[in-house]
Symmetry: C2
Subunit: 546 residues, 2 copies
């Protein structure tokens, strides 16, 4: 038996699977018939019954009037020979219900065909998922102090426009973003004490309010956003409903907890080194880091301005897409579609093996649903080397620390003990960075940008959003540091090149979510969101997509 994961697309199998998915969506009975092997032994099993024989299966399809819409989330694939393979696909329905689709494929003179299939489904797990914005009490921020910062005056939180595409959407605003009439706390009590009351909303927040959204509350953040885990020494660890007992990911940790638990629909946060993508991966949420500069970062506490972005977290892809459209103020071009989805073996090997396998399964689901070819970077150019990855990670950390110190060194110096020792140490690492070191790092970053730009000509790059699932809350500081250090080589590629990145929360290591990250070329945010709409629409908002 061949390993899976060794080929981009096992001899065109994923392309055949994509034709099958398209035919199923369109209820194209002739195409479905053609994709099932002819003859009396082809099997299709569902519920408690196996239909045997192509004729039986065809008659069943002609009688059912189309299949319920469902979306692939993970495709596990094993090649048995050059001409035999099977897939076990996990699917999700619009109502949150889940399903499974096992298919055995054989390649004969007429290409890949299904010789046996087994389909099953399960109702939505646990309590029914709350549709976005449809709860009774939309704007009362809950009391959980690990997730929410107590506002200076809850009754004075700015209101939304009341109408628009985001009407009813409740936003958790990361406590780095200016809210009119409130101070900004930055996840540090001493910072909050000294903060002024903001006179106006940050433009990004204002854009969401103008589109009809309301503020659910001010969400906690890791200290001055300089962490990826969601652990804050002052207010504790927000919960991770998708992985109980584990950290939610940070630094947009309160946003993630609020959105994952359903007390908000949208998180407005920041991503410098992964602070939206990591909580997206750990907490099972869609996350969007825009092209650097594409969303106005005014009114948002900086960390490392060369890398800082303002972006979003959401449970539902449709909500994310509509909100992103409200934030993108640049000129609109028709969305472009990538030539392929690219997989870098080097970057998958950065992740722990189980995470890499899980993200590969999600990547196959993306390829099959979009019909885009799945290729290895090596097939269209030269894959990144381990040395490159090490170099870009080091370069990023150098510049990040230097800029972070430039942003907040004065505060840290003036307020000893305001930060926890671990976070202060990260800032202090940037205190003594010399000009030569910094220039060398910036040169490496420039090279990485050029390198990635060349790669992205062949397709959009897909990689694990994090190297692991969320670690346990009680993990040791060493484990936390290892998780962070393991993930930075993955997240900082988009951060330092400025390209847009999307976290698709589809991977599963056991029950634990891990995200697939898709990087598009610079400025292609709308194209990236259009691809998202292909594979994860939401009924409430699908009609409003730009």
């Amino acid at each position: 038996m061949h390993d899976d994961g060794d080929d981009g697309d096992e001899g065109g199998l994923l392309a055949a699977a994509a034709r099958y998915e398209r035919a199923l969506r369109e209820d194209d009975l002739d195409a479905l018939d053609a994709l099932f092997a002819p003859g009396p032994r082809t099997v299709r099993a569902e519920g408690g019954t196996a239909l045997v024989g192509h004729d039986q299966i065809s008659a069943f399809r002609r009688g059912r009037g189309g299949a319920p819409t469902r979306w692939l989330r993970r495709v596990h694939l094993r090649a048995v020979s050059a001409d035999d393979a099977f897939t076990v696909s996990e699917t999700e329905r619009l109502d949150g219900g889940r399903g499974l689709q096992t298919q055995f494929w054989h390649r004969g003179p007429h290409g890949w065909r299904i010789t046996a299939a087994h389909v099953s489904s399960a109702p939505p797990a646990g309590p029914a998922r709350q549709p976005a914005g449809e709860s009774a009490a939309a704007s009362a921020a809950p009391a959980d102090a690990t997730t929410w910062r107590t506002p200076d005056s809850a009754t004075a939180l700015p209101a939304g426009a009341g109408t628009g595409p985001l009407t009813g959407i409740r936003v958790a605003v990361k406590d780095l973003v200016a809210v009119a009439g409130q101070r900004t706390g930055g996840g540090v009590p001493r910072w909050l004490e000294q903060a002024r009351t903001e006179p106006v909303n940050a433009p990004a927040l204002q854009a969401l309010l103008d589109a009809g959204a309301g503020i659910a509350g001010i969400a906690q953040t890791d200290e001055l956003a300089f962490s990826l885990l969601g652990v804050n020494a002052h207010h504790g660890v927000p919960p991770n409903p998708a992985a109980p007992g584990r950290v939610p990911g940070g630094s947009s940790s309160g946003c993630a907890a609020a959105v994952a638990s359903g007390t908000a629909d949208l998180g407005l946060g920041t991503d410098t080194a992964g602070s939206l993508r990591v909580p997206g991966s750990f907490s099972g949420l869609y996350a969007w880091r825009p092209t650097h500069g594409a969303v106005d970062a005014a009114g948002v506490l900086p960390l490392a301005p060369t890398f800082d972005t303002v972006g979003l977290l959401a449970r539902d892809a449709g909500v994310l897409a509509v909100a992103a459209a409200a934030l993108l103020t640049g000129p609109t071009h028709p969305p472009a579609r990538p030539r392929a989805l690219l997989r870098s073996r080097t970057l998958f090997q950065v992740a722990e093996p189980a995470t890499a396998l899980a993200v590969e399964a999600a990547l196959r689901a993306l390829a099959v649903q979009t019909g885009l070819p799945l290729r290895d970077v090596d097939d269209v150019g030269v894959d990144f080397t381990g040395e490159e990855v090490t170099a870009w990670t080091t370069a990023f950390r150098t510049v990040q620390a230097a800029e972070a110190w430039a942003s907040h060194g004065a505060f840290i110096t003036a307020n000893p003990g305001a930060l926890s020792p671990a976070v202060e140490a990260r800032f202090r690492a940037g205190e003594g960075v010399g000009a030569e070191t910094l220039n060398a790092a910036r040169t490496t970053i420039e090279a990485t940008r050029a390198r990635l730009t060349a790669v992205l000509r062949g397709g959009w790059l897909c990689l694990p959003s994090t190297a692991t699932p969320a670690p346990r809350i009680e993990a040791t500081p060493d484990r936390f540091e290892a998780v962070r250090a393991g993930t930075l080589p993955l997240t900082t590629l988009a951060s330092q090149t400025g390209v847009p990145a999307l976290n698709l929360p589809w991977g599963r290591v056991g029950d634990l979510p891990v995200g697939l990250c898709v990087l598009a070329p610079h400025g292609q945010d709308r194209s990236l969101l259009a691809l998202l709409a292909e594979v994860a629409p939401h009924p409430r908002t699908a009609a409003r997509l730009p």
Copy 2:
């Protein structure tokens, strides 16, 4: 890809599957772990979730505290290579709910192991299956005249003992069996007019009543039992709830319709050329034709006494087994277990291809659940030839017609037009059979008995109960005759050799039931029923099995 059905047991795969089933029943976690391939890529999918990696799967099993009991009914198998194969198994739970189990197997240095599995289940189809004997109105025979003959006095139907292992079981008594106080109609109105009122119950019926059963009513039969389809020119065609629009099979047609629809739990009928096994196959019921002479046939209208037997139909195997124990009055020996299950390619080729495939799937289910080796007759001896099959069919029909004429020729001669022309023609075929022809036929039958006895030393013979599923009610007379002629080569093997036969109603051609027939050596009825108990217990009666 290899065909399935070409090997008895694809290189030991069914034996491995049997070990898996046993380990599952016993919740033998170590054995289950050993039967799943080690490593991070092994997949087990159920509900909406795929567990990936042997560790995850093992942990899941250790946490669940055993799997719900379910029984395999059909195992579809495809060999992909000498070392790769998959099975799609259809299962049934005790509550009548159904399930599916797809497994991909790979043979490595440590034997066959599962590399991926997908399990799903469905609730019982349609209205919940009525447990035997637990309806509110147990003994009121319904009015459907195609199923039930109006008794001479419904209130005077004999009562059961009131206690015993069959308490609450409602028996449909074929209108060939003497019921005290009633005439016997034989499916022919003219016969009924001339019949005497029976003074006592037939011993077989009495044995059931003594065991606690009650009479649900007198069930219709094909004319003088000389048909296999369930079509009667006088009272019409009883319904087939398992295959609406199709004949129920006969001649025990009323019993089959009553039991399949739930208005009776047990059918007491007769089988000369297949009159229990054919309705069992067409209507999806367990059917037992005993060893010739093992159940007292006194008080039952004869057709061809050399072949006539009195036996049973039931929905639930446990009910069948308990009732059969009440009928078997001979000496009790410890049940023997067969050395193997034998498949005759010749006999499977007698059936239509889709029926043969369906019965093979049922046979694999029997082999996997019992752990008995599945062998071709060729592996332990020499398979029957097509010439042998033709010869035994002709010989049987010759003797049957001659004996039937001897039984009823006088009535037919005295009552012209009493029978429909087609049935009368069958009787008339026996009118002119000469002694030489008859002797030659009996010699052929003796040879067939010797031949089968030799085959059964290697194991129990498994074959399709019928050559097709039930034909449509509106089929042409030619089609009906073709169905009958196609099935007689299969059914008459047990009929002329006197061995016991069991119909397992597990095969499916689309939605249509077809039966697997198992033949045991002469006198081994209790062994045959013990094997049935291994694979199809019923909760109500499992505790009462002999």
